[in-house]
Symmetry: C2
């Protein structure tokens, strides 16, 4: 069964917001065996919405629409669909009751504008919105299903989880879709491709291999589609093993779709060891990544974000003369930072970073993107200098990934 | 002039990666006056790519394609386009030279697989890739322009900035597109819509108003298109002023498209005051947001991420008996945390957070999502309890936005 996503709203087309709805929906739908043929974003323009919906319904069995359901004038999804299906709107008192109950709970006043939220398409079934005022709608039309939801991410997620996903599972006999990801570190995409060309050539049509490179990591994703879960699973595991035999062990970060912070989390939990971080140029981003992992409090003790000289000296024990002589962006400083945090926070491992994230702060001999990273552990201290390209956020992200990989290698050292 | 974006690759359709390329490209293109009619994501499937490209070329003057240009077997963009345009591939020695030079610089070996990168469409012009091996291509066909770029974000960005955007500016007489955003805080979308209905009704066709709600913030975005920049600008400023007169001052966060961390950054710079943060459940995310702003080192001194009891006690001065009696997730603890960080780091303002981000950690009387937030400043300490819905990352994000808004209100207090 194939579905398409249609996102309505100018904000995506002018680059004001990232389409996080699409990634979430695609992931959830894939998980239950619905594959997505196309994702389309169009503006709040009636004719264009109709053209895109019509094209989507020609290709797919189910079209999920988000956006344009609010009570404001730029929200034209309902009137557009009313024209497309040639049906009117009906007033659903249950929506008003639902809104009143929810709004009163939150202490917000009920306004006349909310009445409009109760107007739903005559050919639709209500999908109650537990996180906002605009309900979703489920429409069956010429053997196809059209699902409308608000564009606010947590409202859409609530409606999908509570109503849409369960209903799709009941109404369709869904095939088995399995994805298996191998995370490789430190090998360029083309080198990898050369290494595993023979295995790739031998793979059957119902299993596809994709290369997903990003910042020194390449994720190899096997995607299989089939009827029998066990047969498909074992066939995919077989190809994964063949690939794993070829790639050097040191370059394999994980044999499941884990992020770097999840990889080090597993390693630290398994070895019952702890981590602390002293961040300067990364400003808390490494700590944030580490703490997005549920259960990270088992191994992550805490961090010091030492943005000023004062904090580096007073709270990390960096020597004033080190800062004077070598500057904050130096191997000497990053070393003292990692020693200081590991000692103060009494952990098995520690990370430190100091660099110039930009756009300001560069000097004659220290360009924007220059970063020193250190990891301390039972085997002593390792340091590394990188020069990261790109904007401030790129420097922060790249530094964080290198730091987490340095930590991974230190944990794995015999 | 209208453009469309066409993203090729399964990873977006299965929800494995967020389409950050689209938002970046849309923003940059809008900035130079190119409006985006549609953004389409399709899989690595030849027929579907051709269908989507054909549809896009029917609607737009320029189609920008990303993805599927790598040297691996899942990269089929070049062969697909070769069929669509009915042209062959030509070998460009300049690409090989360019790759060799770049790869040698980075200490990576040149491989036979790289030869494929030099094969470009016969009807195309090379767009050199300074950050990777797959070059971009610029194709002119039946009065339309097709631009192909690799899907790796920083490679695409480099090609866009260096070649694509300048070339588009030279080849087209671009209209003026202006966006003006007002950030409102603490008013529901429907209440806002009611308030400013009259202004909205009076706006001309070439100026549109959009409501972009997210977590208690609603951004009002005016988008205007015209020929004369000054006339359009002044007309938009006029409507913005009318709206600003209606909305209560306290609910206006900014009169330009600023993120909460940028709003507080401006306020702190203007008042020459400083900030420190003590984070528990937010794990460094508030510090990360604050330090994504260039120049934040002028007011941000540093943070302590106090994930464990030990750090809360030793480094923030939280009393052991407070933790015993009330627990870490309590008003008493968040208050001692904010006092401790402000005193230790000697700042004008401080933020602290402590809560249960989930999915574990809930108790009978403390559910997942329960968070205490405190802000300390010249007017003393304010605290707030919230119960954030959703997953771990939602709790972290919501807490961070509330904390930054509490800080904003404290800075603005007379």
């Amino acid at each position: 069964m194939q579905a398409e996503l249609l996102t309505i709203g100018d904000e995506i087309l002018i680059g004001q917001i990232i389409n996080t709805n699409a990634v979430w929906m695609a992931k959830e739908l894939n998980y239950i065996g619905v594959s997505i043929k196309q994702i389309t974003s169009v503006s709040d323009n009636k004719n264009h919405i109709i053209e895109a919906l019509d094209a989507a319904l020609n290709r797919a069995d189910v079209v999920l629409i988000t956006g344009g359901l609010g009570p404001t004038k730029d929200d034209i999804t309902k009137t557009t669909l009313s024209e497309y299906f040639n049906v009117g709107l009906k007033k659903e008192e249950r929506v008003i009751d639902f809104i009143k109950e929810n709004f009163v709970k939150r202490g917000i006043q009920y306004l006349p504008v909310h009445e409009q939220q109760a107007m739903i398409l005559e050919n639709s079934e209500i999908l109650f919105n537990h996180n906002g005022t605009a309900p979703g709608m489920w429409i069956e039309h010429n053997g196809k299903i059209i699902i409308c939801m608000p564009g606010v991410p947590f409202e859409m997620r609530g409606i999908m989880s509570k109503y849409v996903l369960p209903k799709l599972k009941t109404q369709f006999q869904l095939p088995v879709i399995i994805h298996k990801t191998l995370v490789t570190i430190g090998l360029p995409e083309s080198t990898l491709a050369d290494m595993i060309a023979e295995v790739e050539d031998s793979m059957p049509n119902h299993i596809k291999l994709a290369y997903l490179p990003n910042f020194g990591l390449v994720r190899l994703r096997l995607s299989g589609i089939g009827k029998d879960k066990n047969i498909l699973q074992s066939s995919m595991e077989d190809y994964a093993s063949q690939i794993l035999e070829i790639i050097p062990k040191d370059n394999i970060g994980a044999t499941e779709d884990l992020k770097p912070e999840e990889i080090i989390g597993k390693l630290l939990i398994n070895t019952k060891q702890t981590l602390a971080i002293a961040e300067s140029c990364t400003g808390g981003y490494i700590s944030h990544l580490v703490t997005t992992v549920p259960g990270s409090s088992e191994y992550f003790i805490g961090s010091l974000i030492a943005y000023s000289y004062q904090i580096k000296i007073n709270n990390l024990g960096v020597k004033a003369e080190t800062l004077e002589k070598y500057g904050a962006v130096s191997e000497e400083c990053v070393r003292e930072m990692v020693e200081g945090i590991k000692k103060n926070f009494k952990t098995d491992f520690a990370i430190s970073t100091t660099g110039i994230a930009g756009p300001g702060g560069a000097t004659a001999d220290k360009p924007v993107g220059l970063v020193w990273i250190a990891v301390a552990g039972p085997h002593g201290i390792v340091t590394r200098k990188i020069i990261a390209n790109g904007e401030r956020i790129n420097v922060i992200e790249r530094t964080s990934l290198v730091a987490l990989d340095m930590l991974r290698r230190e944990i794995l050292k015999d």
